[in-house]
Amino acid sequence: MAAPGSSPRDGTPERPGEGVMSPARHPSGEDEEVAAELPAAMMSLGRHHRGEEEEDEEEEEAVTSPACHPSEEEEAAAAVALPAAVTSPGCRRGAEEDVTAAGWRCRRKHVFVLSEAGKPIYSRHGNEEALAATMGVMMALVSFIQSGGNAIRAICSEDRTLVFEQRGPLLLVSVSRTRQTAAQLRRELAFVHEQILSLLTRGGIARVFARRRGYDLRRLLAGAEAVLDRLLSGAAADGRLLLGAARCLPLPAPLRRAVSAALRRAAASAVPAPALAVLAAGGRLVTAARQRALAEGGRLCASDLHLLLNLLGSGAGAGEVWTPVCLPRFNPDGYFYAYAAALGEEEDGGGGDSAVTLILLSTEREGFYAAAGCRRRLEETLRAQGCLGELGAAVRGGAGYGPARAGAPELRHFLYKPLEGPEEMQQLPQFTSPELEEPYASEEEQHRLFDLYHYLHSRVHSPHRPLRLLYHVAEKETLLAWVTSKFELYGCFSPLVTKAGAIGVLTKLLRWLKKEEDWLFIRYPPPYCAAPARPEGAESEG
């Protein structure tokens, strides 16, 4: 390990002019000035809020510790032990959480959203109201750098990475103790931003701030905190965000085919036909069908689908939902209207996590009854074919599979994203991974594992020196990342495996994945033609 501040190279790529703020690496007077200037700027901003001045200074210290500790970069395929990731106390989120307590500061990751006027909009932990002063400091910092014709992007300290992301009139800040790189944290912030857009649209947000700069966006986002919490907690131990792909529910191929066909028929016969029809259970895709006009418009962005599932996929049991929703990658200014309901409520009784949710996207604001009719027809077809019960049983009986299923005992966990396949499959990026079992049953260990995955991902996808194969010996496990033009694979093994052994296991795993691909993936997400095609897609918000 390099001593703090001594290594010339850093894990975070620094491009000229990018403005990565890292005080120890820029020991010039300019950076010190920033630190010295802060309290004054903070006070001027913090004064309108209720926070106490002393508390602010403490917070300020906590988030912007000036020491820089560049992470070590080891050679590809070299065995280097990682420092154990610091784990946080596993208490739960609550708006009541005391933001002055040590527990709050020790959180693995904080995410804040604030407006240009420094008004708090969202905080992952603790009540954003109580953090008004802290957020004021953040805005002051950003404005101060801006006034010098520059933009702050990140601060790397010994144990934390702070990332600032300005998106339109919103500022998003991540304060992380995970091993995610600044670029990965930035992608996560972009995701948070897109989830906000999915509720309000870009134009909608711009309009309210154009009318009143000091607008309290929480008024429009009331209730959305839970959606953002779910997004972030889901991202902590799942490959969806990392791989930019949807997670599929493994299903016997004949069942998936029958369900897909029924979904396509039901969707195509609805008037107006939905633009997109998705079946999901517990946030995992069962199948998806798109109107051909939309399918030809390009790929369905995995992140848009993820936002949609995060918003509506677990709303089962709340009746039939009808809500405007924006798919920001598809069109950040337009609304679709989304219908979501659990399938086969009557025979299931229960609902809950095991429910299969149907989501239909319509371009018609008044399309509720058409969508509800589509659900009824789909239910009738599936019931007549006996698929509904079979589907419910498959979801209830533990939808996933264990890592042992591939027949390699050394393998503890893996993430696999195929990059080739039928064209339909290409348009719906997917990945698969086994359930997390011992030794990754606890949340702490899961976070540690995904920290390692994030690290490997950042190395193989490094913009400066991308790698095809990376063998990495960590403290408690050994990992191997393998990227080709056909797939992207990350495997986690027991620590005793050798390099040759690990490659052997992955080769075996690849054979198994190939054999089971019809069970693991949606190979042919069916497009359908609608009678009155509406190629313009989302209706503009009016």
Partner: protein, 206 residues
């Protein structure tokens, strides 16, 4: 699907249907369509109810309790939620269509579409939060603009009586406001199933 009739013994069913019938104006999307069943001709009446009120006063919980007779902590509703409940009465079937709206203002326009033709509205407030009653008064003003007084039955509902220890709105206050505006009034608890069936029965029998 049939709801246990024993729970509604206190209501006079024939008077219920007599009053429900003239309340279904023609020309609406939802018409009373006489249906048949095994026992012979039994008319089916559609009865559309909207739930209005601020965020987290318990609108969805009330609907969920009434339809599923269960309670669960739920996330805030996005957009609107639609529930149906069929009530089999001796002289006919009443099919409730319940539109549960999100309390957030961003959804007002989409929810608005489904107010149309509503037979009843429940204005829900939280008895532990005074502000929610004020919001309910604003919702009432909206409704009064939209509907003629005899077009719609409006009930003011103070929810969360299980949290009576934190009460901010006295029963009398809600009652008094309801009386001056000619609204039905009831205090309920979706959590402990207090008066939930009663309020739905009260609006249909009014």
């Amino acid at each position: 699907m049939g709801r246990d009739l024993g729970r509604h013994e206190s209501f006079n069913e024939s008077s219920l249907l007599q009053s429900a019938k003239p309340q279904l104006p023609m020309g609406m999307a939802q018409k009373a369509t006489p249906g048949t069943s095994l026992e012979g001709i039994r008319p089916t009446y559609l009865y559309k109810v909207v739930l209005l009120g601020s965020t987290s006063v318990g609108k969805s919980s009330l609907a969920y309790r009434y339809v599923k007779n269960d309670f669960k902590e739920s996330l805030p509703t996005v957009g609107c939620s639609f529930f149906t409940q069929t009530l089999n009465l001796e002289a006919g079937t009443v099919k409730f269509e319940i539109w549960d709206t999100a309390g957030q203002e961003k959804y007002h326009s989409v929810c608005h579409l489904y107010y149309r033709g509503a037979h009843a509205a429940l204005l829900v407030y939280d008895i532990t939060n005074k502000e929610t009653l004020n919001r309910a008064k604003l919702w009432l003003r909206d409704l009064e603009k939209e509907f003629l007084p005899d077009e719609i039955v409006i009930a003011l509902v103070g929810n969360k009586t299980d949290l009576a220890a934190d009460r901010e709105v006295a029963t009398e206050e809600g009652e008094e406001f309801a009386r001056t505006k000619g609204l039905l009034f009831m205090e309920t608890s979706a959590k402990s199933n207090h008066h939930v069936n009663d309020i739905f029965m009260a609006i249909v029998s009014n």
